[in-house]
Subunit: 295 residues, 2 copies
């Protein structure tokens, strides 16, 4: 959804308001619903709404991953459209799509994500090069997060390959993820393009922060994936004096999905936490408190 | 759609039956519809059905790209579900999705593409590593095409970077696309995994064929993108004696999308070709004849 203010300004305002850089991942898995929810789309949609309602007060942004809705076909995508319509305008919506395609196709992806889903930001895959990214910036998406170093176990398989130096640019031999950061930083300025860097790879996270001190990071992996929260808080924010504008939260978002939704089914919540919504709100509040906006 | 016979056997049977390795890309762009079709979903769906009906007799496989349907939101995805249901079982359906995500998300993508869309095969992005691919093979997708060297103008930006040698594997310093081919060949055997290699990069196509002589290729870029058809026909088929089973068509698919759909609006069709369906069928027949199944 294009707004008068830039995406990073809106994100900063929301981060300041909730006091946290928590990004609420909305990825409802029918295999992980609490008792009382059917594992069909009805149950999944009902649970996603409950999580959204309970956790939203603590979240700087909301990030649904398309796959969890598309798995129910067109009916699932319609459920996401309904869910998206309930998110208030002051909470930025990131669509986790990880798309990457040739230019004319990327243009249609941008329509899908900007217009049909009113996304403020989107995640994109860099493998196809700048062609796959530019159409999003031209068609109503405020900000793109390019996958740089992902949080999954096999991420290093290609992303940590060593690539040769570039004498024209003056770039050294380095890991592919580092070259992706340098290269994609040339596709758009820091107000329009940042990076996805997993908290499960704290060394890579620090290395990427050194390379692109002024770029906003979306950091997955601190919840169920067991990533390094301290490293994410230390290296995640834009470095002051880097040329990037200093804003509350430093442009950082730390995503938690299963770590919040999973609290609904956690039997250790104690006697006072027998209500689903309370459990989820508590989990969100606890995560939010672990990732405060520092003044 | 899982079938008793493997995907490559079904593809070979269809290729032999139609006498061609033409893959019909079904990517209806509302900005490129012929006169008489509204640029809303109604017009787009009607045109896609017309193209499918006219061109299917000449096509070894059908490849819709999800973006062109998702651009109309859930209603667009529903239109693709209807379209897919009209494709007969003997024509393999490739869903061009270019997905790539962490394992639990990839598992939901696989459900979306295998179950909701009945895909026989899918295109996937390698950047996240094997985690992003394995769930598709475990959940009902017969075959995956991993993006290796794409057909777009900026493809070389990352894909042609030089990566260092791997002394453990005995792999030399080489281009990233070459390393992707070698690496992804370790994710599944030739009966389950092949590559997307654009005809716009004939040198890279030949280099990849040398590296993975037994892998099926899906080659885009010979139509509107102006790729090298001769190179695609020469290097595209699996090499006999490579260990890959020799089948009619050599596992090759050459995709044409705009080159066929665009014929509907081509005013140079002559007096006998004033009917849309005839023009499209003629364009498909001409493309099919240029890419025969050689005995």
């Amino acid at each position: 959804m294009t707004q008068d203010r830039g995406y990073l300004d809106r994100l900063a305002a929301r981060s300041a308001a909730v006091g946290s850089v928590l990004c609420l991942g909305l990825d409802p898995d029918p295999a992980a619903l609490p008792p009382g929810f059917s594992s069909d789309l009805t149950g999944v949609e009902r649970f996603a709404r409950l999580v959204l309602e309970a956790a939203l007060p603590y979240a700087a942004a909301v990030k649904p991953n398309l796959a969890f809705y598309e798995a129910f076909g067109s009916a699932g995508l319609a459920a996401l459209e309904r869910l998206r319509a309930t998110i208030p305008a002051d909470a930025p919506v990131l669509i986790d799509a990880k798309r990457g395609d040739i230019g004319p196709t990327a243009a249609r992806q941008a329509v899908a994500i900007a217009e049909c889903l009113g996304a403020d930001a989107v995640t994109l895959n860099p493998y196809l090069g700048r062609d796959a990214v530019a159409p999003f910036l031209e068609r109503g998406i405020g900000f793109v997060y390019v996958l740089c170093r992902t949080s999954n176990p096999a991420a290093a398989e290609l992303q940590n390959l060593r690539v040769g130096g570039d004498t024209v640019q003056g770039w050294p031999e380095e890991a592919l993820f580092a070259r992706v950061a340098r290269t994609a930083a040339g596709w758009a300025g820091p107000e329009r393009l940042g990076f996805v860097v997993g908290a499960t790879a704290p060394e890579e996270l620090a290395a990427i922060r050194d390379l692109v001190p002024d770029r906003a990071f979306l950091v997955p992996g601190v919840g169920a994936q067991g990533g390094d929260l301290a490293a994410a808080l230390r290296e995640g924010p834009v470095r002051s004096g880097s040329g990037g504008t200093s804003r509350p939260g430093g442009g950082l978002l730390l995503n938690v999905s299963r770590g919040i939704a999973g609290a609904a089914g956690d039997p250790s919540g104690g006697p006072a936490a027998n209500d689903l919504q309370i459990r989820i709100a508590q989990a969100a509040a606890e995560w939010a408190a672990k990732m405060p906006v520092l003044s």
